[in-house]
């Protein structure tokens, strides 16, 4: 049977406010346990919440960026359950009246196709604390520093059809919240967390299958693996005559499998009701207009502009627009050298692998956009070949010179374009390989093709890579045929 995968994602983005959503505690990551837990965060008797204006503004920014309707009036509700990391015995969240209503986000897949993913809603809520399970004489330790950190929970429609699409969607959300400056996107620190609702159904069937929720998958790679594993599990289960049960599952990256979290399953009844300590939040049009005016160019617009203005492919444009910093870098390279395609190739190619290898952010790049742009200019004006350029790039990365020109000069890497000089060099090469020249001349077209490469290689070696490859090709052909 042909199966279709149906995925909906719930992404929790920690908002990058200075203080918590309902208290004046700091939200800094990694502080000593419970040193950022105030009376309010601890749920001390008699304490009351007051809403952080910046959390509201950030949620509105997000809503506007996904073309959503921002509710004129949104309401906080209490979600009641007992857990040691939940100090009040309820989480203050939003239920019937979320701040951000229906919106959408376009994602671009590797093959360049674009899909629109619906976003059901996004609402504000407070984060819980953390349970630490190191051995305290058989007890768990509770750290409430994180309790009360503002979260935006972004709920997608079940529009996603594959693990790859899911990753593309999470990457698009990740890029968006970072562009907007509302979340630092640090998945390792839990700033962006993802719950995946996964189900399968026979292709062509209209109703959804029973879904399982995979909780807290915290890297792009694990999202893909966890979903793929879960889809496989469900298909095998159904094909073996079994039934998928609606439950919460946990992805174990070490074993690459999901397993049931039955302990969390027991009869949840959250008893949502409007929080009596908080009043309805009213968003005025004037405020929204002001937020809208403050929005930066969004990834989707930047991507479109890159395609339109620079003629980049949809995929290249998506990759380069994925982070504001990368996009800025690319544009700086482009404006320094005036060649968008070469700039894109170098940024996505050599530069990216260099950064990956050393695990650096684009802001930490050892080669500045101006340096790279200057170097690309030298490729364009034939001062150096692409191959030599790689040497120049490495030298720039190693700090061997301030500019490409300086390195080219110092290392004598300037390309040889003098026809006479090249001809003289070629004559020497051919003389040294007289046997191969004989063979070449005796061979048919097909074989010659391969052998030609040998002579080019020898010629480039003899010139230490500096001979202009175009000229070498042209002159060599003439001499050999001659």
């Amino acid at each position: 049977m042909q199966w279709e995968t149906v995925i909906g994602l719930e992404i929790h983005a920690q908002l990058a406010t200075q203080s918590k959503i309902f208290s004046g505690s700091a939200t800094t990551f990694g502080a000593e346990p419970n040193t950022q837990a105030s009376l309010v965060d601890l749920g001390m008797p008699g304490t009351l919440p007051v809403l952080n204006a910046e959390a509201v503004r950030m949620a509105c920014k997000f809503g506007l960026a996904i073309d959503a309707v921002i509710a004129e009036k949104n309401v906080f509700a209490r979600k009641n359950y007992f857990y040691p990391d939940l100090p009040k015995g309820y989480q203050t969240s939003q239920m019937d009246h979320p701040i951000v209503g229906k919106g959408h986000l376009d994602i671009t897949l590797e093959d360049g196709t674009t899909r629109r993913i619906g976003i059901t809603r996004a609402h504000l809520e407070e984060d819980a604390g953390k349970s630490l399970h190191e051995d305290f004489h058989g007890m768990s330790g509770i750290d409430l520093n994180r309790a009360g950190t503002p979260l935006l929970e972004i709920v997608s429609e079940p529009d996603i059809r594959s693990a790859k699409e899911a990753v593309a969607y999470v990457k698009a959300i990740h890029a968006l919240v970072r562009y907007l400056g509302i979340c630092d996107g640090n998945m390792a620190e839990g700033s962006l967390r993802c719950d995946c609702n996964v189900s399968v159904r026979p292709k062509g069937q209209a109703e959804f299958g029973t879904r399982a929720e995979i909780k807290n998958v915290n890297s792009f790679r694990f999202i893909e693996k966890a979903i793929n594993h879960e889809v496989q599990r469900q298909i095998e289960l159904i094909e073996d005559g079994g039934k998928v049960v609606q439950e919460t599952r946990l992805y174990d990256p070490n074993k690459d499998e999901t397993r049931s979290m039955r302990s969390k399953e027991e009869a949840n009844d959250y008893r949502y009701f409007p929080c009596p300590d908080l009043l309805p939040v009213v968003i005025e049009q004037r405020f929204l207009d002001e937020v809208r005016a403050s929005l930066p160019e969004l990834p989707v617009h930047k991507r479109e502009r890159f395609e339109r203005e620079f003629g980049l492919s949809a995929y290249d444009a998506t990759v380069l627009a994925a982070s504001r910093e990368l996009a800025d870098y690319f544009e700086a390279v482009q404006s320094a050298c005036g060649d968008a395609k070469l700039s894109a190739n170098w940024v996505m190619g050599e530069l990216s692998s260099l950064l990956n290898k050393d695990n650096l952010d684009i802001q930490q790049s050892p080669v500045s956009a101006e340096q790279l742009g200057g170097m690309i200019q030298r490729i364009k004006d034939n001062t150096i070949s692409g191959k030599i350029a790689k040497m120049v790039f490495e030298a720039l990365a190693a700090g061997e010179g301030a500019t490409a020109d300086e390195i080219i000069e110092k290392k004598g890497l300037k390309q040889v374009t003098d026809t006479n000089a090249i001809e003289a060099m070629l004559d020497e090469v051919l003389a040294a390989n007289a046997e191969q020249v004989e063979q070449y001349r005796a061979s048919d077209e097909a074989k010659r093709g391969k052998m030609f490469g040998f002579f080019v290689g020898q010629a480039m070696k003899a010139s230490k890579g500096k001979a202009n490859p175009g000229q070498v090709n042209q002159l060599l052909k003439k001499k050999l045929e001659g």
């Binding site: 007051v50 809403l51 040691p84 015995g89 009844d269 949502y272 009701f273 009596p276 300590d277």
Partner: protein, 483 residues
């Protein structure tokens, strides 16, 4: 000294007839001597009181002359007091020394009041007899075999017995006004949002309101002026300037339009109380007020609505008492669920558990619409009734309670019978309007209270009417025998 009102104390302190410290020592001695009969205090804060009294005397010596400088008071034991046990009348908070002061406590302390102690109350303010306290029932000074009302029963008994001249209370369904009525006091529940709830341990957040209890309206005005006002720490606190409550007291009542709702005088009301209320109406007429019959047709639905909304909010508010960060924790919990279940079962008393369960049920899946939403719709009907009534009249007048103080233990077997005692007071909480109860006579030696209700933020009007009434009557000056 102990017979003096706050206003009289202020004059005496100002004229240096005695010092705040002398007054404090006198009252502390009285508490020690007399409170064992009443059980109105959970904690007596002798050291704190003497320290505050000396500080008040020093401020006075330095030239200050505030109306509450050196005024001895007590706090209902659900206002957080830093470093002092704040028990809420519950075992679960028996060892809880609050790490901060409630806004009300802070403001009154800043005004120079002297805190003599923390007053007994129904556990988590749930009750109307002060019999659900972990620290035992409070007795009514007018008849120690009877209840003082609740939930601010300790505040009421202590003031009525002249152990303190005034105290704070809280009113979620009548918990200031009803004990005031049963002990011959004046007690004001302000408009919801007028007094900060920061540091006031929540029972039902959308209904709870702190307020003053004293013997006279004038004293209530003095306290309210210091307690009330906007607090940025409470989202439901209102940014509206305070009226001058003291200045408003002396306004004449000529032309005051009083509404008498027919629903307040129907079946269930003790006829002798009805007579006393009508005698009070006559007095007010003599002062120039006019009277009109009105109707509050949805009043009869207030009790069911209240007993859904208050327990629902309480069930959530009281979830934080889980034995993890503060408060009672059971011995040797076997696991997490055992920790929760036993700490809460051992820490909470029966009435609290009942209300938590009713509230949990009312909010649970499948019942939310039928109970919680329905109750909130009725709440709007009740508010609409008041809005309409206040188009025609300035204040609404009726009995505070349908019955006189009942015998200790009389209504323990059947919680529902005690719930019905709230009939005249809970509508003000549901609508959020202010209400006051004032002494209006005695029946068989037991006090009767008259309640006045006014539109939002018209506390000044209520205090004014009660004060004018107290200028021509002397019920409020009467003291129980032996105190």
């Amino acid at each position: 000294m102990h017979q003096l009102t706050l206003a009289e104390i202020a004059r005496n302190l100002s004229q240096k007839r005695f010092s705040a410290e002398e007054l404090t020592r006198t009252l502390l001695a009285r508490i020690e001597q007399l409170d064992p009969q009443l059980n109105s205090f959970i904690s007596v804060t002798e050291e704190l009181a003497l320290e505050q009294a000396r500080a008040a005397d020093a401020r006075r010596a330095a030239g200050e002359d505030g109306a509450l400088l050196g005024a001895p008071i007590g706090h209902k034991d659900l206002f957080c007091t830093q470093g002092v046990r704040t028990s809420c009348g519950s075992r679960i908070l028996d060892a809880f020394k609050a790490p901060y002061d409630a806004t009300v406590v802070e403001r009154l302390a800043a005004a120079g009041t002297v805190t003599l102690g923390k007053l007994n109350m129904d556990e988590f303010a749930m009750g109307s007899a002060n019999e659900s306290s972990y620290y035992g029932p409070v007795k009514n000074p007018w008849d120690p075999t009877r209840v003082p009302g609740g939930s601010s029963g300790g505040s009421a008994a202590a003031i009525a017995a002249r152990l303190i001249p005034a105290a704070t209370g809280t009113d979620t369904g009548g918990s200031i006004r009803q004990p005031a009525a049963l002990t011959n006091l004046t007690g004001l529940k302000p408009t919801y949002g007028r007094v900060s709830r920061w540091g006031m341990v929540a029972y039902a957040s959308s209904l709870d309101q702190g307020g003053p209890m004293a013997r006279t309206a004038e004293d209530c005005a003095l306290l309210l002026a210091a307690m009330a006002g906007f607090d940025p720490k409470d989202s439901t606190s209102v940014e509206q300037p305070l009226d001058d409550y003291l200045a408003a007291l002396s306004q004449p009542l000529a032309g005051l339009r009083i509404g008498l709702p027919k629903e307040y005088f129907g079946a269930g009301l003790d006829p002798k109380i009805a007579d006393a209320v009508m005698r009070a109406v006559d007095e007010l007429k003599k002062l120039g007020a006019t009277v009109k019959d009105i109707s509050l047709p949805n009043m009869q639905h207030a009790i069911p609505s209240y007993y859904v909304i208050a327990p629902a909010e309480a069930s959530s508010n009281l979830s934080r008492f889980d034995g993890v960060r503060f408060g009672y924790r059971c011995e040797n919990p076997a696991d997490l669920t055992d920790l929760y279940k036993r700490s809460r079962a051992e820490g909470f008393g029966d009435e609290v558990k009942r209300r938590i369960m009713v509230g949990t049920y009312a909010l649970s899946a499948g019942y939310y619409d039928a109970y919680y939403l329905k109750a909130q719709k009725i709440r709007r009907l009740i508010k609409n009734d008041f809005v309409a009534a206040f188009e025609e009249v300035d204040v609404i007048l009726g009995p505070t309670t349908p019955n006189l103080a009942w015998k200790l233990g009389e209504k323990n077997a059947d919680p529902v019978s005690a719930y019905l005692e709230d009939i005249y007071t809970i509508t003000a909480n549901l609508a959020g309007i202010p209400g006051i109860s004032m002494p209006a006579g005695f029946i068989d030696g037991l006090p009767v209270g008259v309640q006045l209700l006014a539109p939002y933020f018209q506390e000044a009007r209520l205090l004014n009417v009660a004060h004018q009434y107290q200028q021509v009557t002397d019920w409020h000056t009467r003291a129980p025998q032996g105190f």
